[in-house]
Structures are given as structure tokens and as C-alpha cells.
């Protein structure tokens, strides 16, 4: 259902870029305004509504006891799912998640998993028999660009507010989910040799390539994803990574460490 973007619009955005300008007046590495509201869904163990500019993403965390995977009998389980519901964009269609939605969920999952933010061993209840299962459900409400960064932010913010519902399952008192790290994903697009962070919809629609870099609180890289059919030169990647670390640190300090 996506409509063609006119050449004249493309040219306009491109010409701005050549002058170092963006459609909404931001600098190339500037994020839109971010707001995070936690504990918005009472029925969830943790939740966060993230606004990144006009993009809106709601993430809910549910937990329940279940069986561990056979090869990791002492570890809890994380299951991440994303719904790109048709309410959020004229380009989303009803139906089971498509490859875009699945990619998004997997990259969000990667950040949480690879940063070891959640201590999975602490989620073991009875070794080999019963562990906590954490469901991270990402609900996109308004896609005005860069929903991946918003979803990743939402996931970690929701986890930070998650209370393990032990009493509901007769497993003692509820307690806050302990976290060891705060991963932050930052995404840049490449267009005609220019890099831009936190792309809006217009910018996304003309870009060939997107690179997401997830960094930990220590400043290490714990996950990456190149998306789109364009090319990236190593120098461009190094540059994105440098800026990504810096941006992630700013976002982490300002919105997630309190």
C-alpha cells in the first residue's frame, strides 16, 4: 500500500542534505525529543510508552513460570515479539508479523540478550524444571520513523520498571527484576554518502541503508544490524559506531539511569 515518493521530494531532501540540513532542521546526529513514561499498563509486570518525536511505541513485559530450554536448564527464558499493527502506519497491514516486524523484534531481543542486561540464571526457580519466562511485547502505535530505536528504548525502560510477580504464582514476595546493564540502540541511515541519525519517515523512505548499533553501559558494542539493500564502506561504519556510542551514552544518562 506504500505510495511512491516523488522525485521532486527526493531531490529536495537530497539537496538539503548536501547543504548539511535536514527536513525538520535537525543536525545530522541529533535525535528528536524523547520522552519515556513507565508503568503505564497496570496489567503488565512492567511497561513503558516511548515517544521519539511523533513516533510512539508501547512495550509491555509479562512474566510467568515455565519450563526452561533443555540446553539451558538453569536459565530463564526471554521471548520478544513485535506487533506492527495497522493502526500505526498506512503501510502496515493486518496479519501475522512480516519480515520487518520479525527483524525488529529480533534486534530488540539481541540488545537485551547480548548485553546480559537480564541475569537469566537468577530467573531459575527449580533447576531443569521451572524458570521465569519473560515476554517482551512491543506494540508500535505511531510509526513516524526509527521505531527500532524507540522499541529498544521501550524494552529496556519497561524491564527497568518490571516487578517479578512471584506472589501471584505462590513463589514468595514480588521483587524488582534485577538488571545488569542498560543497552541502547542507535540507528543511522546512509544516503548519498551522508549519514543521519534517528531518521524520520521521509528520510527512511529515501535511504538505501540503515545501520543499528547497540551499545552497553560500559561503551561496548553488543549488537548490530545492517538493514536495506545499499552498501556501506568500512569508514562509514566506523564513523556510525563512534557517534552511536556517544549518542547511546547521552540517551542512557538522560532517560534510563535515574
Amino acid at each position: 500500500m506504500s505510495s511512491v515518493i516523488s522525485e521532486i521530494r527526493k531531490d529536495f531532501i537530497y539537496n538539503l542534505l548536501l547543504k548539511g540540513e535536514r527536513v525538520d532542521g535537525r543536525t545530522f546526529d541529533q535525535y528528536r525529543d524523547i520522552s519515556i513514561e513507565r508503568d503505564v499498563i497496570r496489567k503488565a509486570e512492567g511497561s513503558a510508552l516511548v515517544k521519539l518525536g511523533s513516533s510512539q511505541v508501547l512495550v509491555g513485559i509479562k512474566m510467568q513460570p515455565g519450563e526452561p530450554f533443555q540446553d539451558t536448564p538453569n536459565r530463564g527464558v526471554i521471548i520478544t515479539n513485535a506487533e506492527l499493527v495497522p493502526l500505526a502506519s498506512p503501510n502496515f497491514e493486518p496479519g501475522p508479523p512480516n519480515e520487518v516486524g520479525i527483524e525488529l523484534a529480533r534486534v530488540v531481543d539481541r540488545g537485551v540478550r547480548e548485553s546480559k542486561a537480564v541475569d537469566l540464571e537468577a530467573l531459575c526457580i527449580v533447576p531443569g524444571k521451572q524458570v521465569w519466562i519473560i515476554f517482551i511485547d512491543v506494540h508500535i502505535l505511531d510509526d513516524c520513523g526509527n521505531i527500532l530505536d524507540a522499541a529498544s528504548l521501550g524494552a529496556i525502560a519497561a524491564l527497568l520498571s518490571t516487578k517479578v510477580p512471584a506472589s501471584r504464582f505462590g513463589l514468595g514476595e514480588d521483587y524488582m527484576l534485577p538488571l545488569n546493564d542498560i543497552p541502547v540502540a542507535t540507528t543511522a541511515i546512509e544516503f548519498g554518502d551522508v549519514l543521519m541519525f534517528d531518521p524520520g519517515v521521509d528520510e527512511e523512505s529515501i535511504a538505501n541503508t540503515k545501520l543499528t548499533v547497540i551499545t552497553t553501559a560500559k561503551g561496548e558494542i553488543c549488537g548490530m544490524q545492517k538493514s536495506g539493500k545499499g552498501l556501506l564502506k568500512p569508514e562509514q561504519i566506523y564513523r556510525i559506531v563512534d557517534i552511536a556510542c556517544e549518542k547511546a551514552r547521552e540517551i542512557r544518562e538522560k532517560f534510563l539511569e535515574a
Binding site: 500500500m1 499498563i41 496489567k43 509491555g60 499493527v85 495497522p86 493502526l87 502506519s89
Partner: protein
């Protein structure tokens, strides 16, 4: 829990302190989404529901097109985390049925003949459920349709009545819905024409009569709130205009 364990009334008031004929607190916000053509967020008690309207727009797949009018599609969907026990994502038999009756609750007032060969899509996402999600969804959807500039003969407002402890109550909450004796959601025009009518449980003809009257009264009050929210959004546009003028 067994229903005999619950006492639904204390000193003549309900578990949440309401009178039998009282609505839960309602908050309505218009135009909350940037991408949608029209949108509305509603809180009805513990329900948090958001509705978006897209269209009229091209129909895909094309064979669904009707030559003389727009088709209306309504998708009711619950977020996985909206309920106590995590819901598997995606539609189930319940959401198909609710989508159908909700669509039919709105269709009678939508001027579909103005837009042949097109579709008006209504998407309703339940973010938190607390009994009465279908009525909250219809209320939000009607406002979102108006916000999208869709021509309609009137607004539609929706409310349920129920029976607990042999008493007819308005707008049942979760406990009353789960352990009550009857549930009766309706939707209607402000003029009192009914567009949604469902009922489950047990009611005598007299009780039924009383329940319908009560639900209609609730829907009328909700209509006033829908209207106020729309007028208020317009007021915000006016206010921002005045600010701009003051800056000059």
C-alpha cells in the same frame, strides 16, 4: 474465587465505590496519532483503548471493492500485555466476533455512498483491558471517524449494563463482569436508535427493560463526553492560533 465469596455491594455502593447507575471515570483525547487520518484515545475505568481511522482509501485486495459505496473494516485487537494472563498475539474467534459487531454498530451512520470503491479502515487496539473493551473501542472509533472527517449522520456511543447480586448495574467492571449474572452491551445514536445489542447471562423481561434503559442513559452521558472532547480539540487549535498572533 467463587462468586459466593464476593459481596458486590457495601453500604449500597459497589466494590469501586460507585452507585449502581454510575459510570466509571472516562477520559477521551482526540487526534493522538500523527500517521492516522483520525484517532482517539479513551480510558474507561481501567480500560485503555486507542482507535485509528485510515481512509477513505484504495481497497486492497481489489476484489473487495464495491462499486457504489465504501466498505468499512473494523479490527479489534488486544495487546498481549493488556490482560492478566499474557494473550497470544493475533486474532482469535472472540476478536473476530467483536470486530464484526462493532463494525455493524458504526456502519449505519457512516455515509459510505459518498466514497464508492474505497475502504474506511478502523483499527482498535486494546492496551489495557478491564471489562467493557468493546464499548470503549466503539466510543473511541466513533470519535476517530469524526476526527478523520468522515461524514456521518450522527455519533455512536456505547455502554454496557449488567446484573450482579440481583441488581442491575451500569458499566460493569472486571469483577462484576467475571462473577456477575448478566452483561448487556449496547451502542446507539444520540437519538436512541440501537446499533449494537448483545447480551449474555440471565435477565427477566423486567430486568432486561431496566438494563437497556440504564445502558442507554450511560451511552447518552458518554455522547456528551465524546462531543466535549471533539469541541475541546478544536479549542486547542484556536488557542495555538492566538499564541501565534501574540508572538508577532
Amino acid at each position: 474465587m467463587d462468586k459466593s465469596d464476593i459481596s458486590f455491594f457495601k453500604d449500597g455502593l459497589r466494590l469501586d465505590g460507585r452507585r449502581a447507575d454510575q459510570l466509571r471515570p472516562i477520559r477521551i483525547e482526540v487526534g493522538v496519532l500523527a500517521r492516522a487520518d483520525g484517532s482517539c484515545y479513551i480510558e474507561m475505568g481501567g480500560n485503555k483503548v486507542i482507535a485509528a481511522v485510515y481512509g477513505p482509501r484504495e481497497v486492497h485486495p481489489r476484489h473487495l471493492q464495491e462499486v457504489t459505496r465504501a466498505i468499512v473494516r473494523y479490527r479489534y485487537n488486544m495487546a498481549s500485555f493488556s490482560v492478566e494472563e499474557r494473550k497470544r498475539p493475533g486474532p482469535d474467534r472472540r476478536s473476530y466476533e467483536l470486530s464484526k459487531v462493532s463494525r455493524e454498530a458504526l456502519e449505519p451512520v457512516i455515509m459510505t455512498s459518498y466514497f464508492p470503491r474505497s475502504v474506511i479502515d478502523v483499527f482498535v487496539e486494546v492496551l489495557q483491558a478491564d471489562a467493557g473493551t468493546r464499548t470503549a473501542g466503539i466510543n473511541a472509533a466513533a470519535v476517530a471517524l469524526a476526527d478523520a472527517g468522515i461524514p456521518m449522520k450522527s455519533m455512536i456511543s456505547s455502554c454496557a449494563a449488567g446484573k450482579v447480586a440481583d441488581t442491575i448495574v451500569l458499566d460493569p467492571m472486571k469483577e462484576e463482569d467475571n462473577f456477575g449474572q448478566a452483561d448487556l452491551p449496547i451502542a446507539m445514536t444520540p437519538g436512541g436508535d440501537i446499533t449494537l445489542m448483545q447480551m449474555d447471562g440471565g435477565l427477566s423481561p423486567d430486568e432486561f427493560h431496566q438494563a437497556v434503559e440504564m445502558a442507554m442513559k450511560g451511552a447518552r452521558d458518554i455522547y456528551e463526553m465524546q462531543r466535549a472532547a471533539l469541541v475541546e480539540k478544536y479549542g486547542k487549535i484556536e488557542a495555538s492560533t492566538i499564541e501565534v498572533n501574540a508572538c508577532e
